[in-house]
């Protein structure tokens, strides 16, 4: 049994007083409840069906979707132009339908992203938005280089999305607002409308 000395008790009292300000949160009145709630709603809308128990945040969803998309397109490219070897394994999305599915999923995720950008008061300071933009940019470029980019209206949409994402990524670390006019709400509105028009109703794995 360890016995507390008088000195230990004094230390504990001092510790209690002095440590109170360690990583002190702001007063409850300043907690950004509304902002967090809006982002939670956006994140949940970008998650797949509830039965998926492993994709708990939008970051992980974006990362996983990116990997699937990259592998799918990579295999699709190989099967498109590379030597045809019968491995006995059912392969790859080399059909136009596979690219349609990949594109629809990507545009659904992009729609959630643009919505998040519109809700975010400070996109430059939001690391989640920036990471998300980087992931989406990679996937957008993969799609543009794939047969999915052969469809002219879809290609135009992907290129416009790429432009927005490039600006988002380039703004990372930028101290001034010189590029800000290119990201205005009107551009975002137009892009959002077009994204929604290109996502068939009921197709995306989103929750409301």
């Amino acid at each position: 049994m360890v016995r507390m000395t008088h000195n230990d008790e004094r230390f504990d009292a001092w510790l209690h007083d002095t440590s109170a300000d360690y990583n002190a949160p702001p007063p409850n009145a300043q907690i950004p409840r509304e902002e967090m709630w809006q982002r939670i709603a956006v994140a949940r809308s970008s998650l797949p069906a509830p039965r998926s128990r492993f994709l708990a945040s939008r970051i992980w969803l974006a990362a996983a979707a990116g990997v699937v998309l990259a592998v799918g397109i990579g295999i699709g490219r190989l099967s498109d132009g590379g030597p045809q070897v019968d491995s006995g394994v059912t392969s790859a999305p080399d059909s136009p339908q596979a690219y349609d599915v990949a594109t629809t999923r990507h545009l659904t995720s992009a729609e959630a992203f643009v919505t998040a950008v519109r809700l975010s008061a400070n996109t430059q300071g939001d690391s989640v938005i920036r990471r998300w933009a980087r992931d989406l940019l990679t996937d957008t470029r993969l799609l543009l280089d794939s047969p999915a980019g052969n469809d002219v209206p879809r290609r135009t949409l992907l290129e416009d999305l790429e432009l927005l994402l490039v600006q988002m990524v380039e703004l990372e670390g930028a101290r001034d607002d010189s590029n800000r006019p290119l990201l205005d709400k009107t551009h975002q509105d137009q892009l959002l409308t077009r994204l929604r028009a290109n996502v068939p109703a009921g197709a995306p794995p989103a929750r409301s």
Partner: protein, 179 residues
Amino acid sequence: MEERELLTRAQAGDPAAERALYDTHVDRVYRLTYRLAGDAELAREFTQDTFVRAFERLATFRGDSALSTWLHAIAVSVALNGLRKVRRLRREVQLEHAESLGGDRPRSDPVLRQRLYEAIDKLPTGYRTVFLMHDLEGFTHEEIGAALGIEAGTSKAQLFRARARLRERLADLAGAWSA
């Protein structure tokens, strides 16, 4: 409305009930993640992730513990995992030393206070978590035990050891508290 009723409605997908549960618990979750992270942006991300995960898994919540306990367990898990990633990233880019994440701290802290903060930063994760939850956020040992998946007695022992470790590390400043 009783929390149990709100919970049932939220489990059935009622957005208003989800919002009511969020409003009830968000402050304490945010404060806890803020204490662990010491950074407003990280605290916000961890709080958001906590609720995203909680709502996704709400159907599996059987009410064996209080909802708050369940939420705090998710929050601690999200925050500690997130902090590990941040520390790894910071080591990789060779920013400041890995243990300290206190980005929002005032820079004008007196030496004594700063020494204490650094000593808290360097506590083992388990000790530090229990210390922050108990001494700074007022959780009971029972609540801490439930959130961390340990016995209340273990929580008490870890708090005792945390304080002893701090006392040891600040021994050269003994005059400050024995005066």
